[in-house]
Structure formats: structure tokens, C-alpha cells
């Protein structure tokens, strides 16, 4: 397979000359260029963000990512909330995948406060994180297919995702925002009959994913549009801070679950899914295999999870919990890459500063702006979805 960065018009004589910086001087009044706002109100955008595209014909000449439509100032709000009061709001940082926020926040705080989480709670946390990964991948795979014109996949996977949301509802009491992993532990053991229903759902997902493979991945049109398209050069991984499946599709086996194991991952049997070609197709395939691995991981967890036990460590009274001064960084592997919380405490009841590191921060701004240049306008949506970005975690 020829490894081209992008499929572009080979005949460059039609295009204006590049300047000394290797860019094209854009002069809108020359009528050759067109500026298009791709979002925020646009069906081809993931969430509430926008791309300011400069086009020449149907080729993107320049792109600027605009974020901030979802900015709520979490990092500021957390500074004026007690630690326990931060717990309900952290999950809102990343809407489609809230649990990684809860985990990173809780674990950073537990590290600073020196709290050991009970065994059962650790298992439940692992379970919830993997369930969250599963539902996020299912939502994503529908989005990736949809952005390239395959509506049917979304109809299936969103239904499958809903099954997982039902399990979430049973276990945590919430559908989207679970507010389950609070500092010190979790908020409930497995309900009765949970295992059977979960097993049933996982079987359904397995079955459906076979069809997804056939309809989406073994598909001439899909391959035609994605193979060799939107390649991330492995050399970009570190300069752009690329993590997660985006990096793994480029052959770099980066996975926090293996690199810096947390919770019960050391007791689970898995290998990071790695791809080779680093194009949209490979990234989609890496995520699909990752999804199947998650299904397998949940099965492993369900076999080991205890039915009884304490779910929360003894902590000071949360109404005036003072966390010893210090700073730490706690990370977890979410569907999009490395999720992290940098927490600074000054020894009071309120956090001094909490910084959220969402993987989309690097993927959706610097990387996307670079990748999208010279792409075809029709591929912008597919390319963007293939990076799997969630705007709320960029601006927080």
C-alpha cells in the first residue's frame, strides 16, 4: 500500500505558490479562497467545537480549531469547592466518558491524603472504567461510520451502548453521569443479577461486532475512503503528545494500563492493541479490537470481582476534609489516550489547583490543524472523528 499522507490533487500547478514558510498566502479577496466554518452548529462535527477552514476548491488550505464553546471553568470552580464537592462536578468534564475523571480525581486525592481503597472498591472501579470504555467506543464507532456515510452502524452501536448504560444505571444509579467513584471508595456493590445481565449484554455486543466488522470494515467504500488517509507519522507521537489508540495505530504500544498499571489491571490478562499503518482505517480497526479486548476484560473482571466487602475506606469527615499539602499527577488510560489530573493541595479544605489533562487537548488542536491541511472537505468529518476527540475535555 502506498503510504501517502493524504490523497491530494497531484497536479499542483493549479494551486498558488507556497511562500518561504511552506504555506500558501491566503487572500480572500482574490476569490480563489473560501472560508468555511465547520461548526459549532454543523452535523459533521463531534460535539460543540468548530473548525475554521480555508478552502481552495474542495481542498483544505488552512485550518484553525476553535474551542471554548463548552468552557465552564471547572478548574476555577473546583478551587472554591471542598474536595467532596468537586466529586459531583469532575465527571462533567468529559461528557461521553465521565468515569475517568472520577477515577483520576479520586486517586489523586487518595494519594495526597494517604488513603487505601478497599479491595472490593478497587475491583468495582476497574469494572466501571472498562464499562465506560466500552460504551465510549460503541458511541465512537457509530460516529466514525456515520461521518463516512454509514448510518446503520450507529443505529446498532448506540443501542448496544444503551445496554451498557442500563447496567451503569443499575450499578451506579446514574445513566450518563455516574458519580460513583468518590474519594475513598465507591457507592455500591454489584446489584443482584447484575452478572447475568452483563454477560448477556457482552454476548450481544460480541455478536453485533461481528456484523459491524463485516458491514463496516470489510467494506469496499469504507476502505476506499480510509485506507492511506489521514496518516499520523510515528515521528509525530512525542512532539504532538499523541497517546492512546491514535499512537497505538502508529505502532507505538502506549497504554497507561500496562505502562503505569493502576487499580486491578496487573491482575488482568491483556496486551495493548497495536496497529501498523496509522491511517483512519487502522485507527478504526485498533479501536474495534480494543473494544473487543474490553469486552474480554470485563468478562475477566466479572469473574474476579467480590460480591461482598467494604466499599469505602475510613476517611475524615468529608465536610471538612483537609488534604495534606503536596502535588501529584494521576493518570488513567481512557478511550482516547492518557487522561490525567494534576492536583495541588495547600493543606486546606479546598484544592489549590486541579488541572485536567484530556487527550483531546493535543489531538484536536495542534495535531488536527496539521493533519487536516490538504485534505478534501468531504473527509474532514471522518478525519476528525478518527482522532476521537471530545471538545469538553479540551476547554473544560
Amino acid at each position: 500500500m502506498s503510504k501517502k499522507l493524504l490523497k491530494w490533487n497531484e497536479d499542483r500547478t493549479l494551486f498558488p505558490e507556497k511562500n518561504s514558510e511552506g504555506k500558501i498566502d491566503v487572500d480572500y479577496d482574490s476569490h480563489k479562497f473560501m472560508k468555511i466554518w465547520h461548526g459549532p452548529q454543523h452535523p459533521g462535527i463531534t460535539g460543540n467545537m468548530s473548525l475554521e477552514l480555508t478552502l481552495l476548491g474542495d481542498e483544505v488550505m488552512d485550518c484553525e480549531t476553535h474551542v471554548g464553546y463548552l468552557h465552564r471553568g471547572f478548574e476555577k470552580l473546583m478551587e472554591r469547592r471542598k474536595y467532596i464537592q468537586c466529586f459531583p462536578i469532575v465527571c462533567r468534564v468529559a461528557v461521553p466518558e465521565p468515569d475517568f475523571n472520577e477515577y483520576c480525581f479520586a486517586s489523586a486525592m487518595e494519594e495526597l491524603a494517604g488513603i487505601e481503597v478497599p479491595e472490593a472498591a478497587e475491583w468495582l472501579r476497574t469494572l466501571v472504567l472498562e464499562m465506560s470504555r466500552l460504551q465510549s467506543f460503541l458511541a465512537w464507532i457509530g460516529g466514525q461510520a456515520g461521518s463516512l456515510g454509514q448510518g446503520i452502524i450507529g443505529q446498532w452501536t448506540i443501542y448496544l451502548r444503551d445496554l451498557i448504560l442500563d447496567r451503569f444505571e443499575e450499578l451506579t444509579g446514574g445513566r450518563i453521569y455516574h458519580m460513583y467513584m468518590l474519594p475513598g471508595g465507591v457507592r455500591g456493590l454489584l446489584p443482584d443479577g447484575f452478572r447475568e445481565r452483563m454477560t448477556q449484554n457482552l454476548d450481544d455486543i460480541d455478536k453485533f461486532m461481528k456484523d459491524v466488522k463485516k458491514v463496516m470494515f470489510d467494506n469496499y467504500v469504507f476502505k476506499k475512503r480510509t485506507v492511506g488517509m489521514g496518516v499520523i507519522d510515528p515521528a509525530w507521537i512525542n512532539p504532538f503528545g499523541i497517546t492512546g489508540p491514535n499512537a497505538r495505530a502508529a505502532g507505538v504500544a502506549k497504554d497507561v494500563r500496562k505502562d503505569n498499571p493502576y487499580l486491578k489491571y496487573p491482575e488482568l490478562d491483556f496486551e495493548p492493541v497495536v496497529g501498523k499503518d496509522s491511517d483512519i482505517y487502522t485507527r478504526a480497526d485498533v479501536r474495534r479490537r480494543d473494544l473487543l479486548m474490553t469486552v474480554d476484560l470485563i468478562r475477566q473482571i466479572m469473574a474476579k470481582i467480590p460480591d461482598k466487602g467494604d466499599i469505602r475506606a475510613k476517611t475524615p469527615n468529608v465536610l471538612h476534609w483537609k488534604v495534606p499539602a503536596g502535588e501529584t499527577y494521576s493518570r488513567a488510560e481512557c478511550t482516547r489516550g492518557e487522561y490525567g489530573y494534576y492536583m495541588v493541595s495547600d493543606g486546606t479544605e479546598y484544592p489549590r489547583r486541579i488541572n485536567v489533562r484530556g487527550p483531546s487537548y493535543t489531538h484536536a488542536v495542534a495535531l488536527l490543524e496539521k493533519m487536516i491541511v490538504n485534505a478534501n472537505i468531504a473527509d474532514v468529518a471522518g478525519l476528525m472523528v478518527s482522532l476521537h476527540t471530545y471538545p469538553p475535555e479540551i476547554e473544560r
Binding site: 479577496d29 476569490h31 459549532p40 452548529q41 454543523h42 452535523p43 460535539g47 460543540n48 471554548g68 464553546y69 463548552l70 468552557h71 465552564r72 471553568g73 476555577k76 470552580l77 472554591r80 459531583p88 462536578i89 462533567r92 461528557v95 461521553p96 458511541a139 457509530g142 450507529g154 443505529q155 448506540i158 443501542y159 451502548r161 444503551d162 448504560l165 445513566r175 450518563i176 453521569y177 469538553p392
Partner: protein, 213 residues
């Protein structure tokens, strides 16, 4: 950053003639909206029934609540059977679902999208955030009360509301429309100055005409 893009300027047309462009006047319409009289009697009743049974929702996910739109659009909850469907452009949409909190930056786009929608148009507000600020009540970047900036027909409590609650909200909206009370667009036109004043108070970077559909 300068705002040269809304200033008057001269450009050369492809034919080589200089043309004077005033973006705010030429690209937009700045006529204020007018309140529309409703038809009388049975015709209006029929129209209202038709409107209530074809709620076309603008696909603009403004906040968290947008995540529950996808289950609604897909087979599990299948809102299409209730005459609800999603449209990509404001021109085709009649219902604007404000899915939760609105940052000032988004509010600006929401106002523009809302104004681009055709009459009659309805607003459904999701979650605590639109009622009284919700969990971002003390944030410097999110509004507290949506009804200050645009007329709202139905509020749905929840953070975020479940798809089932959303369907209940649409159900309520249908009743309101059928009763002839879905007058949000007229209310907006009648109190245009008040709404505009509120909007301008918080949207500091106002680089568009007052009305732009």
C-alpha cells in the same frame, strides 16, 4: 484582535471592478423581526396540529444533554415515530433543544441559530443549567437563566434528563402547540429590545447585526 472583517472595505470583483462591501449590511438582514398574526379558527387549529406532529429539531448540541440525543435518534427510543426528527440546518428546524448549560461563546451562536429558524419556532430547555444555572451557577462563563435571552416553551428537569424525560418534554410541547400557546417566536419579536439588551449585556464581543436571519 481587530475586527476588520466586519468593517467596510473595497474588493476587486473577478471582472476587475472595485466593489464596496459592508459586511454587516450586505451579508445579513438587519430588519427586526415582526410578530405574526395567527390564522383564525379551524385553519390555525389544523396548522397547530400539523406543527405539533412534525417537530423538527435543530441538531446543535450545545452542552452535555446532547449526548442523550443519539439514543433518541436510534432504535431504542426512536423519537421518529413521534414525528420528531433532527435537521442539520436551522432553516429546516422548528424546535431548538438547548441541551444544558450555555457558555457565553455558545450563546452567541445559539442566538444566531435561533434567529435563523423559521417561525413558528419552539425552544426546549434541558436540565438544571437552563433553569437557574445548575451546577455551574457560580461559573464566570455560563449563563444562569435561559429565559433572559430567548423565550422558552418547555423546561425538563434533570442533570441530564433521560431520553424518556425528553420524550415527555416533547409530548408536553405538542400539547402546548396544539393549544395554540407555542408563541415563542412572537414573544421574541414583541420583546425584541429586552432580549437583545440582555444578550448584549453579556456577549461582549458583539460583531454581528442585531438581527440576522
Amino acid at each position: 484582535m481587530g475586527k476588520e472583517y466586519i468593517e467596510k472595505r473595497t474588493v476587486i470583483s473577478p471582472e476587475g471592478n472595485p466593489i464596496e462591501v459592508d459586511p454587516l449590511k450586505d451579508y445579513f438582514c438587519d430588519a427586526a423581526p415582526k410578530s405574526c398574526k395567527s390564522a383564525s379558527g379551524i385553519i390555525e387549529k389544523f396548522a397547530n396540529w400539523a406543527r405539533s406532529e412534525s417537530l423538527w429539531v435543530l441538531g446543535f448540541g450545545t452542552g452535555c444533554g446532547a449526548i442523550e440525543m443519539r439514543p433518541l435518534m436510534t432504535p431504542r427510543f426512536d423519537a421518529y415515530r413521534f414525528g420528531i426528527q433532527w435537521r442539520p440546518t436551522p432553516r429546516q428546524a422548528s424546535v431548538f433543544v438547548i441541551s444544558g448549560y450555555l457558555s457565553v461563546k455558545t450563546l452567541k451562536r445559539v442566538v444566531r441559530s435561533y434567529e435563523q429558524m423559521q417561525n413558528p419556532k419552539f425552544v426546549v430547555a434541558l436540565g438544571s443549567c437552563t433553569i437557574n444555572g445548575g451546577m455551574y451557577w457560580d461559573s464566570y462563563n455560563t449563563i444562569n437563566r435561559l429565559d433572559h435571552y430567548m423565550p422558552v416553551d418547555v423546561y425538563i428537569a434533570g442533570c441530564m434528563p433521560r431520553p424518556e424525560a425528553l420524550l415527555a418534554g416533547f409530548d408536553k410541547l405538542k400539547h402546548i402547540i396544539r393549544e395554540g400557546r407555542g408563541e415563542g417566536a412572537n414573544k421574541y419579536a414583541e420583546n425584541f429590545d429586552w432580549y437583545k439588551g440582555n444578550q448584549k449585556k453579556i456577549i461582549k464581543d458583539w460583531d454581528m447585526p442585531d438581527y440576522n436571519w
